[in-house]
């Protein structure tokens, strides 16, 4: 056998780790209570923030109790406001002070900080701190904010319009006018909160020996947190270390910079001590970050056969009082602008996407960002078009899904190869539409109302800096670096810039690296979430880490492998290309000449004189990956029963046919889908942040804001298709957000299908029992 003929097979035929549902390396720690979460750290001082009780007002005075340690805006006036930037779409920069500077813009805004030896005492002081505010008229709703004569939220943003993106393809009007059917859907997505089970927390400790501060916090992006805080405070970045320890879920809420953390670092430096803030659930619900507060009017022009010819969208997002760093509050409207056509082939597209500032909590990314809403809008439109064209819901989608790749969307995104049609068919087959229709008809005779809903979608994942640059962000994230070191004992450490918090990335990256360098994953440690230990990177969000950090891991591991082969070739007197790395050994292909990888590693450090300068000492390699992005795809289908007397929806069957390319660990992939679907169902049926007309939040407890329990979540039936990604070196696509993207569209379409006999339309999410009953009652009254 020549070297050339098997050179690509030198990973050998031994045990393969990629593709295995191996148990997670994260778990033993977490199931024994040995996890390290931010709130576990003791501190000398505890902070309780005094938060604005009103939505809008001028602060007249702040009077702390006698002798108490309370800081106000004046104390931190030297810290720059958090001012993310976007250089496109008429974005108006908006700064958020760390503590209010004379005015408050939403209920929950930080006005002062009480500091005491225990959290309870800090809360006592905060409670006793008198804040005198002259209330002004707030603006709560996005549409109201854009009305002529609406109060101005921020003087720097006249008319409250903070961003406006417009797009219209050439010849749009002609295509629109020539269509056989015109269909409109007006959807309302109410405000939601990502609600990680661990609320946010920060702990900053000053080290007198070095003058450095270590900030441990619940962040999804430790490195940028460090850069941003150093910038805002004006301190050397190397005086700040940021650690993201075990983080109890994020779902986007923990990727945006928390003003609280900036304050903690400032305070630790001021007091030269350790300080802690642990967000309570009420704070999390009213003052962390919100999402999904949008109005979308979506119009479609279809030909006589149900082919979508033109799509016209008007998107209005309520972006809240400030702009989140680094994405800016434009993230929802602009993602809607870019991705509204979804998985469908449509050449003519027009969209106006706006963001309005209001006196409500700031909007920031939450799992799926705009896509749960735009998928909901688009899928409502498809069902309405199906009715207009007398097609069944599967058929109209079949006629419109993208089938040739790469496909450039009307908004200019490039869909790489996917299985849109196939996953639709897989879901439809699992549902068995003809059988369901018979069952549905039978149930209706007995006064029971079943419905089916479909939601195919594309999920843009693993996108690198070019995609972010297209947004014009002041900060352009995208790439990731992984540094792999094999120590002299043959154990492997991979330091990564991503910052997983539940995704099992330590396991999946170890699987990727294990296959490449021929050692078992239990010899591989993944180090993340510590700016002193991990290379600069962007963290974990946007379904990116497995693709980008996984790709960087592969690239770094390939370099390590090449070096191991070189060393082995030197020691075994063979061509490096003939060295097979597997099962912890390096073997000359087709022979029994073998050395353990540990022996090679020892050689790489301690016997470098033998390499005669031809091989560099040590076994550390770095890989950086900045991919263009890859779209995974899925089709969700739900069968629901609507109790027409109470308006309550129960999910009877839930099917996901999903394609995320090559699955590194199918168990973890399925878990991501399960969790996403559960959140999507919660978003579709239960979860809503409610404000009253004065801007007072009413959803302040987990008895008012309702994440689903196990009782509300059905068994989720998963089917996989595999289209290996050509845009991802591991051939894997991301899938962290998809579960949540499809569920609202599928579930609410199913509700509408169930209620078809009554002629009602539910175009709001969540589709609460109250809303369903109100629609039915209106129909009963009209009849």
């Amino acid at each position: 056998m020549s070297a050339a003929s098997h050179s690509r097979e030198t990973k050998g035929s031994g045990v393969k780790w990629v593709g295995r549902a191996m148990r997670r390396v994260e778990d033993p720690t977490l199931v024994t209570g040995q996890g390290r979460f931010t709130a576990d750290l003791p501190a000398a001082h505890h902070v309780r923030f005094v938060r604005s009780p009103v939505a809008a007002g001028v602060i007249i005075g702040i009077t702390p109790p006698q002798g108490a340690m309370v800081f106000t805006g004046k104390d931190v006036a030297g810290i720059k406001p958090i001012t993310p930037m976007l250089h496109k779409f008429n974005y108006k920069p908006l700064g958020q002070p760390i503590l209010a500077q004379g005015a408050a813009y939403f209920v929950g805004e930080m006005i002062a900080a009480a500091v005491a030896p225990t959290p309870a005492e800090a809360e006592d002081i905060a409670e006793q701190t008198e804040v005198s505010i002259e209330e002004t008229t707030p603006v709560i709703d996005a549409r109201a904010a854009l009305e002529p004569g609406a109060p101005t939220v921020h003087k720097t943003i006249p008319g409250n319009l903070i961003v406006e993106g417009r797009l219209k393809t050439d010849g749009f009007d002609g295509v629109w006018a020539g269509a056989a059917h015109h269909v409109t859907t007006d959807i309302r997505s109410h405000r939601q909160n990502a609600t990680p089970m661990e609320a946010r927390a920060g702990h900053a400790a000053y080290d007198a020996a070095t003058g450095r501060v270590t900030l441990t916090c619940t962040t999804q992006m430790p490195h940028l947190t460090r850069t941003a805080i150093a910038d805002l405070i004006g301190m050397p970045e190397n005086d700040l270390r940021v650690i993201a320890p075990d983080v109890g879920g994020g779902f986007g809420q923990k990727m945006s910079l928390a003003a609280e953390y900036v304050f903690l670092v400032w305070l630790a430096r001021k007091l030269k001590s350790s300080v802690s803030w642990v967000e309570d659930r009420r704070e999390n619900l009213i003052a962390s970050f919100h999402s999904r507060d949008q109005y979308i009017t979506l119009k479609g022009a279809f030909d006589a056969d149900g082919k979508l010819l033109a799509l016209d969208a008007n998107v209005l997002a309520n972006t809240g009082a400030y702009s989140c760093f680094p994405n800016t509050c434009a993230v929802e409207p602009l993602m809607a602008l870019a991705e509204m056509p979804g998985p469908y082939d449509v050449k003519a597209y027009a969209c106006v996407a706006r963001g309005a500032v209001t006196n409500t909590c700031t909007m920031a990314p939450y799992r799926g960002v705009s896509r749960p809403i735009i998928t909901f809008a688009l899928e409502r439109l498809m069902d309405k078009a199906a009715a207009a064209c007398r097609l069944d819901p599967v058929e109209i989608r079949r006629r419109n899904l993208v089938t040739t790749f790469p496909y450039t969307t009307a908004a200019g995104l490039v869909l790489d190869e996917g299985s849109y049609l196939k996953t639709l068919d897989m879901a439809a087959q699992a549902i068995d539409l003809p059988a369901f229709r018979a069952r549905q008809a039978d149930a209706r005779k007995r006064g029971r109302y079943l419905g089916v809903g479909f939601a195919p979608f594309s999920e843009r994942t693993g996108y690198g800096s070019p995609a972010f640059a297209a947004r014009g962000m002041g900060i352009t994230p995208g790439w990731e670096t992984v540094i792999i070191s094999v120590d002299p004992g043959g154990f492997v450490e991979a330091r990564i810039g991503s910052s997983p918090h539940g995704q099992g990335l330590r396991t999946t990256l170890a699987q990727i690296i294990a296959d490449e360098i021929g050692v078992a994953p239990d010899r591989i440690k993944i180090v993340h979430g510590d700016t002193d230990r991990a290379p600069y990177g962007w963290g974990t969000f946007a379904s990116r880490s497995l693709v980008i950090s996984g790709g960087a891991s592969l690239i770094a591991a390939q370099k390590v492998r090449a070096k191991l082969q070189k060393i082995a070739g030197d020691m075994l007197e063979a061509a490096p290309a003939d060295i097979v790395l597997e099962n912890g050994n390096a073997t000359v292909a087709g022979t029994d000449r073998t050395l353990s990888i540990a022996e090679l590693a020892r050689e790489a450090y301690t016997q470098t004189h033998r390499f005669k300068g031809e091989i560099e000492p040590g076994l550390t390699e770095s890989g950086t990956y900045d991919p263009s992005g890859t779209f995974s795809n899925a089709c969700h289908a739900a069968i629901v029963e609507v109790d027409i007397e109470t308006g309550k929806t129960t999910i009877e069957q839930y099917v996901v046919a999903e394609d995320a390319g090559v699955l590194i660990n199918p168990m973890i992939a399925d878990g991501q889908v399960h969790g996403g679907v559960a959140q999507g169902i919660g978003n579709a049926l239960l979860e809503e942040i409610v404000y009253d007309e004065t801007g007072n939040p009413l959803s302040t407890t987990l008895a008012d804001y309702l994440p689903p329990t196990s009782h509300e979540i059905p068994q989720i039936e998963l089917h996989h298709a595999v289209t290996p990604s050509v845009n991802s070196v591991t051939k894997a696509k991301g899938l962290g957000e998809g579960g949540g993207i499809g569920a609202p569209g599928a579930v609410i379409n199913a509700i509408n299908d169930a209620l078809a006999p009554f002629g009602v339309q539910i175009d709001e999410m969540p589709a609460t029992p109250q809303r369903v009953r109100a629609a039915l009652r209106a129909a009963e009254t009209a009849a």
Partner: protein, 284 residues
């Protein structure tokens, strides 16, 4: 979300407890029983009692016995006690059905029946049960004891006839005759959440017809109560769809619905109509 400071008293005897209560009640003193409703509102600092009289160590308050045709439930008896029949005949079975709708298992291991009654949440399943069955509340204070009928006990949202120095020491639930039919139905958004409407139906069958109907509705008005209009629609009728629907309509029409930001009066009536009929159907 840490409670404001308070002084805790942990008496061992009832006399001691009542004496302390008499002292501290005027200084914003309250009873702490299971704490499953009180502690959360203290965490939010919506309640900030200066004194808590913790009755969890008071001897005798764990009484659970049948006397004179009544089930006596002391102030320390936890919800979870009723997971298995705690009384003979239909009453024990009824309580075992109802208890499974009270919040969640780990709440039921701590919360108490008397605590729920004294807290008087409009959505409380035990308040509904007490109102429907005509329970007697035994209120004790340093100055004596009085027995308050359920009809007189519940006064409004979280408001009862208990004086500030009175402890609800026990509740007496009448045993139900063998053959008594009952049905319960509750509507909430999620499993274990507060009821948005809840109904309990109890009746006997005489000559194939409904006799002595008791139909209680909770979660819909400031406090649970029996709905005479619905009972009238049942009395003397054959148990079945027609009577049940009539009762449900009567209940929906009779209530004076609670409203909140998300739940208007007509929705509350819709729910009452649904839970009443379903409770009655569950009785079959």
């Amino acid at each position: 979300m840490k409670p404001a400071p308070f002084v805790r008293h942990a008496p061992k005897t009832l006399d001691e407890a009542l004496k302390i209560l008499a002292e501290v009640a005027p200084q914003d003193g309250r009873i702490l029983a299971g704490g499953q409703s009180l502690v959360p509102v203290m965490a939010f600092r919506m309640a900030r009692p200066a004194h808590l009289v913790d009755i969890n160590e008071v001897a005798g308050l764990d009484k659970l016995a049948v006397e004179d045709g009544k089930l006596i439930v002391g102030a320390r008896v936890r919800h979870a006690t009723f997971h298995r029949p705690a009384a003979p005949g239909p009453l024990g079975a009824l309580l075992a059905v109802v208890v499974r709708n009270i919040a969640h298992y780990p709440i039921r291991t701590r919360g108490t029946m008397c605590g729920s009654l004294a807290n008087a949440d409009p959505a409380s399943e035990w308040c509904l049960t007490a109102a429907t069955l005509g329970a007697q509340m035994v209120a004790k204070s340093a100055s004596g004891e009085r027995v308050i009928a359920a009809d007189d006990f519940f006064e409004g949202i979280m408001s009862t006839a208990l004086a500030e120095d009175e402890l609800l020491a026990e509740v007496r639930l009448p045993l139900l005759p063998d053959g008594t039919k009952f049905g319960f139905n509750e509507f909430s958004r999620r499993a274990g959440d507060f009821a948005m409407s809840v109904a309990l139906a109890v009746y006997e069958i005489k000559d194939g017809r409904i006799a002595s109907p008791r139909l209680g509705v909770g979660g819909a008005e400031p406090h649970p109560r029996r709905i005479p209009e619905a009972e009238a629609a049942l009395d003397g009728q054959a148990p079945g769809d027609m009577a049940f629907r009539a009762a449900a309509e009567a209940a929906a029409a009779a209530i004076d619905p609670l409203e909140d930001a998300q739940t208007d009066a007509s929705y509350r009536r819709d729910l009452v109509r649904a839970v009443v009929r379903r409770a009655l159907e569950a009785s079959l």
